[in-house]
């Protein structure tokens, strides 16, 4: 018999932990989540905190979160072992739309990678042709390459040859070379901003996952409200179209931290974007 209050976090046991790269682990849980690519969970470390993580992949009976170690929460999460119990709220937020698409390009950078990895998995299951550009600062931080290749995804990154110094050049080349009918990306905001400008310009369908500081994930704390539309990205996002992104004047400019203060990408780019290529 199970006794449960539906408004409480759902409690799951860690089934398995996979080392992906230095400071990068995948946590696998046994639970039929039925999330959609681009959606996220608020992960609860009992007695510690609650933080947003994208669904990295999912089967009928399991799901996984891929986590980059950054601060207190992720450090404590890294100390967890298989068998430990955690909680989550979700799946939350909007998701990528790839209906009727044939050939799509995905771009994942740093801790934004898992969000698009799940999309790659789902798109391949629907038979789409999927190219995937992995962005990272150093070759050791390239993750999910094998996972994606196994699913029949064509993977590209700038460490495959020495041709590109910046991932952006690789992206531009791919877009020029291939007839993609959809672009999907999650990663450093300034990269996303360039992508939005480019796809609007070229009139290519594009969705990005736009991450903001998310304290509650439920539309109540207002930390993730974006100017000037005043909507909460924890619910109206994280996945938005390039058009909607373009209406958000703070996009590429600033976001709000836990106190609600604006953090400018220019001023503090390192801090704001440290997890991203």
């Amino acid at each position: 018999m199970s006794i449960k209050n539906p408004a409480q976090p759902t409690i799951v046991k860690i089934k398995k932990i996979i080392d992906e790269a230095p400071g990068y682990k995948t946590f696998v849980f046994e639970y039929p989540l039925a999330g959609r690519p681009g959606q996220y969970l608020m992960l609860w470390l009992p007695g510690v905190d609650l933080k947003p993580f994208s669904i990295a992949w999912q089967t009928q009976s399991e799901f996984a979160l891929a986590v980059l170690k950054r601060g207190e929460f992720t450090a404590k999460l890294f100390a967890a072992k298989a068998g430990d119990r955690l909680g989550f709220l979700g799946p939350l937020g909007t998701y990528y739309n790839f209906k009727n698409k044939k050939k799509i390009l995905l771009i994942g950078g740093g801790c934004g990678t898992p969000s698009v990895v799940f999309l790659a998995q789902a798109a391949r299951e629907q038979g789409l042709e999927v190219d995937f550009i992995l962005a990272a600062r150093i070759a050791e931080e390239i993750i999910f390459e094998r996972f994606l290749a196994d699913k029949g995804v064509k993977v590209f990154h700038r460490f495959q040859n020495q041709k590109y110094e910046h991932v952006w050049d690789l992206i531009e080349d791919k877009i020029k070379a291939e007839p993609y009918d959809g672009l999907y990306a999650c990663g450093p905001e300034l990269l996303l901003k360039r992508l939005v400008d480019l796809t609007l310009n070229k009139n290519i369908f594009c969705q990005i996952s736009m991450e903001r500081y998310m304290k509650c994930g439920l539309g109540v704390c207002g930390k993730c409200c974006v100017d000037p539309i005043g909507l909460c990205l924890c619910q109206a996002g994280p996945v938005v179209t390039n058009q909607l992104a373009n209406q958000i004047t703070e996009f590429g400019q600033y976001y709000r931290d836990a106190s609600g203060q604006k953090i400018y990408f220019d001023d503090k780019r390192q801090k704001a974007d440290s997890c991203k290529i």
């Binding site: 009992p46 509650c216 207002g222 974006v226 539309i229 005043g230 106190s259 609600g260 604006k262």
Partner: protein, 304 residues
């Protein structure tokens, strides 16, 4: 015939008696505008402290079958940033009330000094937060003495109406309201969340909220807030703003019959989204018409 929903409090005209309560969606001016576009008669900012605050660890809220618990811990960017954020608050489309918090009388004064020229319609001072150390109930502010001192200190600095927000459950709340009134407060908001309460996840044997405990709001609170307003109506002469668990037109009318001139909504906005303002005012207007009331102000205090 459409019932007239206008209410006037301290000379401020509200197109209807619904107000966005402090702490829900009130972090940015853009989101306040969004709430006004959805029908709120007035809106309150997230509480503003002198310095930036990160707030409590998450979860900061949890719902349960009778309402919700929150322990946000007053996260806010501080008075200086708030001044930038809410500049020209009068352009939001409805009166904007600034919620001002502090750990000392000087704190309250510092915040008021910073933001008094932003275009706010009134200032609300919560003395009653049940879950933030140093503030409200946990800061020893919910006493007649402190209520009088804080009210007088901020009245000195601004001509704006000062609203004092009390606890609906503390046994001394009528005395706190009376002391605030005597010190010049212009309205009483009744009230804050109650408790605090705690919900434990039995699978992990841990309290769920990051701060372990948090204020209880929503339906659970409504009868207690109604009773508090009812008692206040027989105790103070200044206007009363009801707050606690109101989620329908019926609830709005009930709170006004107890004695409220206007009614703030928190949990209902969280549960139902900003469009709940339109829903509630539509329900109330329909009921008033069916029952041959011409103005919503006719029902104020009718249960006495």
């Amino acid at each position: 015939m459409t019932a007239d929903l206008n209410v006037t409090i301290n000379g401020l005209n509200l197109k209807n008696p619904t107000i966005l309560a402090s702490g829900i969606l009130g972090v940015t001016k853009a989101s306040l505008k969004n709430v006004v576009n959805n029908g709120a008669g007035a809106v309150t900012t997230k509480s503003i402290s002198a310095l930036p605050r990160q707030g409590h660890p998450a979860p900061i809220i949890i719902t349960y079958e009778a309402g919700m618990l929150n322990a946000v811990g007053y996260s806010n960017p501080g008075a200086q940033k708030a001044k930038e954020e809410f500049q020209n608050a009068q352009t939001v489309g409805a009166p904007v009330i600034a919620s001002v918090i502090g750990q000392s009388i000087e704190d309250f004064q510092a915040v008021v000094e910073q933001i008094k020229d932003c275009g706010f319609a009134a200032m609300e001072i919560p003395l009653s937060c049940p879950h933030t150390p140093g503030f409200g109930s946990l800061g020893g502010q919910h006493t007649p003495q402190m209520a009088a001192a804080i009210t007088a200190a901020v009245k000195k600095l601004t001509g704006l109406p000062i609203w004092i927000k009390i606890s609906p459950t503390h046994q001394n709340n009528l005395k706190v309201a009376q002391a605030a009134e005597a010190a010049g407060a212009d309205a009483i908001v009744a009230g804050n969340s109650m408790g605090p309460g705690m919900i434990i996840d039995i699978e992990t044997a841990k309290p769920i909220l990051g701060f372990k405990m948090g204020g209880v709001s929503g339906a659970a609170l409504r009868p207690i807030a109604v009773r508090c307003v009812y008692d206040l109506y027989q105790t103070v002469k200044i206007p009363i703003i009801g707050c606690g668990g109101v989620a329908s037109g019926r609830d709005l009318i009930e709170m006004m019959m107890a004695g409220a001139q206007a009614v703030a909504l928190g949990t209902a906005v969280f549960i139902g989204g900003a469009s709940v303002f339109n829903k509630i005012t539509r329900e109330a207007a329909g009921w008033l018409e069916e029952n041959n009331y011409k103005k919503i102000t006719e029902v104020i205090g009718l249960a006495h």
